[in-house]
């Protein structure tokens, strides 16, 4: 089973990359407010059990994929 992890800077955390991107989008003529830049991690898991998969990926996020002090995360499992 495949999982996708979306890691985002938490609200209130300065995100200079996001600021640079929104500024560039405005230069292109797009009317945009804030832009936040995060990270996407695709993980190929050895299990097909959804509960097991979710539990594993949650642990991965807590232990490595996100830094809980500055980042939040969302997990999407294959098949919705």
């Amino acid at each position: 089973m495949k999982a996708t992890v979306l890691v985002r800077p938490k609200q209130g955390i300065l995100d200079p990359q996001g600021q640079a991107v929104s500024s560039s989008l405005r230069h292109l003529g797009f009317a945009v407010g804030d832009t936040r830049v995060g990270r996407l991690v695709d993980v190929d898991l050895q299990t097909d059990d959804r509960d097991e998969a979710l539990a594993q990926v949650q642990q991965m996020c807590e232990q490595l994929l996100a830094n809980p002090l500055i980042e939040g995360y969302e997990i999407e499992l294959e098949g919705g």
Binding site: G12, I13, L14, P16, Q17, L64, N67, L69, I70
Partner: protein, 234 residues
């Protein structure tokens, strides 16, 4: 400062991508320490290690987040045990990032507010002089030490920052903030005061030829403390 005591051993760790380990070694040796470089795959620290330095650089290519991968090195397990026993640990720049990722120091380091790599001397204010890392400094002394980083913006939420302020864990502040760090924080201690991390590079400020020798005040304090810890085993 020698008092006839043998030179203390201060281990300088080397990760794939470390690039300030030789400067750290040279600075510590000039200040009277023996400073063996220790490869990241080592399971233990050299015998009679009195202090450990994690140098600057780009360990493991700074993949994922700066310092996030290096904390899984075998040598970091040895450092974690060493710190838990009260051993002195200093993290400089990437070494600071590794120590925060490893949970040995509070806070996290984020991209500089300017998004630019900042490489210049910065003025710093010493917050504490009663720690093993700062005894050679005067209270409130201003130091000039270079920073060189892209991700030196230290972050702690309001609650954590207030706790650290109350407990005296803020070690150093920027007199002119180069990167957006909250509270102008340039360096912090752990709760027990035996682990210290900072973004500026004291090892690049030990020779008058390069402008400032203020880095020798911090590293020299560490050498003094390491020498004492050998003389009086815990």
């Amino acid at each position: 400062m020698n008092d006839g005591l043998p030179p203390p051993t201060i281990a300088v760790l080397v990760f794939p991508g470390s690039n300030d380990d030789r400067d750290a070694q040279l600075a510590l040796e000039r200040l009277g320490a023996e400073a063996p470089r220790v490869w990241h795959t080592e399971e233990s620290l050299p015998r009679r290690t009195a202090a450990v330095v994690l140098p600057g650089g780009f360990s493991y290519g700074d993949y994922l987040r700066c310092g996030a991968i290096a904390r899984f090195s075998p040598v970091l397990r040895a450092v974690t045990r060493f710190a838990a026993g009260g051993g002195l640990v200093l993290g400089i720049c990437n070494g600071f990032q590794i120590l925060t990722e490893a949970g040995l120091l509070p806070g996290a380091l984020r991209p500089n507010a300017s998004l630019s790599f900042v490489c210049r001397d910065v003025p710093l204010i010493i917050e504490r002089t009663d720690t093993p890392f700062t005894t050679r400094c005067e209270p409130g002394q201003e130091l000039s030490i270079p920073v060189k980083n892209g991700e030196g913006c230290w972050f702690a939420d309001e609650e954590l920052l207030a706790e650290l302020e109350t407990r005296g864990q803020i070690a150093l502040r920027y007199a002119a903030n180069p990167n957006g760090s909250v509270g102008d924080v340039a360096g912090v201690f752990n709760a027990d005061g035996n682990v210290f991390g900072l973004m500026p590079h004291p090892e690049h400020a030990v020779d008058p030829l390069l402008g400032s020798t203020d880095g020798a005040l911090l590293l020299g304090s560490l050498v003094d403390a390491a020498r004492l810890s050998v003389a009086v085993p815990a």
